[in-house]
C-alpha cells in the first residue's frame, strides 16, 4: 500500500479522536499526535486499536513506544503490512 493510501485511510481515524480545540485541518504527517494534536493517552490507544482493525495489523508495545508523529504511524503500518505479505 502506498504512503498516500495509508495516510488517506489513517486521517479520518486520527480526526475522530482530536480534542475540540484542534481543527481536523491541523493534522499533517509531521505532527506529533500527543504534543501537537493534543490526543490524550487513552485516545491514542483508541487510534491504535482502530488502525489495527482498519489495516488488519497488530501493534506491539515497542511500536507504541516509537509512535510519536503521524509519519511514525504510517511507517509502522507500512512495515506491518510488509510482514503480513
Amino acid at each position: 500500500m502506498t504512503t498516500e493510501r495509508i495516510y488517506a485511510k489513517l486521517l479520518p481515524i486520527i480526526q475522530n479522536y482530536l480534542p475540540e480545540d484542534v481543527s481536523p485541518d491541523e493534522v499533517d504527517p509531521d505532527k506529533d499526535l500527543t504534543r501537537e494534536l493534543n490526543i490524550n493517552s487513552a485516545h491514542l490507544v483508541d487510534v491504535v486499536l482502530d488502525v489495527e482493525d482498519a489495516f488488519d495489523v497488530e501493534f506491539a508495545n515497542d511500536d507504541m513506544e516509537s509512535l510519536r508523529t503521524v509519519n511514525d504511524a504510517i511507517t509502522i503500518i507500512q512495515n506491518k503490512l510488509k510482514e503480513n505479505q
Binding site: 493517552s41 487513552a42 491514542l44 490507544v45 483508541d46 491504535v48 486499536l49 501493534f59 508495545n61 507504541m64
Partner: protein, 149 residues
C-alpha cells in the same frame, strides 16, 4: 507477588469517605466482583435529596469503577510489576441507570474485561441489588498507571 483479594483491597488508592468497596469476592484475568453497602448515615443523603434520600448516580458509577476497573487493574498489573501504588485515571464512562439505590442498600458489582492494551483497561460493568435486580450497567475505561509509594 501476592494477589489475594484482601491485598487488592488494601492497595486501592481510595480512603473513606471515598472508598466504595467493602469486599472483593472474585478477581481474575477477565473481571472482578465485589459489593458495597451505602451507609444510611452518609452525608450526601442530606442533600440528595432533602425530602427523599437516594444514592447519586455518580457514586454508583464510582463504586462500579472502584470494584470493576481499579481492582481489576491492580490485579492485572501486580502480576508483572513490583510493589508500587497502582491507580487508574478514568477516561470514559457510558452508564445506563435502571433502578434507584436507597440509603443502607447493598450493591453487587461485576465487571468483564473488554481489553487491556497499552495501559488502557476497558470493561463492561453491571450492578445489581440484594433482590438481584439490575441497578445500572455500561462501559467504563481508564488508563492504569503506577507510581512509587
Amino acid at each position: 507477588m501476592k494477589k489475594d483479594l484482601q491485598y487488592i483491597v488494601n492497595h486501592l488508592p481510595y480512603k473513606a469517605p471515598f472508598l466504595f468497596v467493602d469486599e472483593l469476592t472474585q478477581v481474575d484475568e477477565n473481571g472482578a466482583s465485589g459489593h458495597y453497602t451505602f451507609s444510611e448515615d452518609s452525608e450526601f443523603y442530606q442533600g440528595h435529596f432533602p425530602d427523599h434520600p437516594i444514592t447519586p448516580g455518580v457514586l454508583l458509577t464510582e463504586c462500579m469503577a472502584q470494584i470493576g476497573l481499579v481492582s481489576l487493574g491492580i490485579f492485572l498489573l501486580s502480576s508483572e510489576e513490583v510493589e508500587e501504588q497502582t491507580s487508574v485515571a478514568l477516561s470514559e464512562t457510558n452508564i445506563e441507570f435502571l433502578k434507584g439505590v436507597n440509603p443502607g442498600e447493598t450493591v453487587y458489582v461485576q465487571s468483564e474485561k473488554i481489553y487491556f492494551r497499552f495501559g488502557k483497561l476497558k470493561c463492561k460493568v453491571r450492578m445489581t441489588n440484594a433482590k438481584d435486580e439490575l441497578v445500572c450497567k455500561g462501559i467504563i475505561s481508564g488508563m492504569v498507571f503506577q507510581k512509587k509509594t
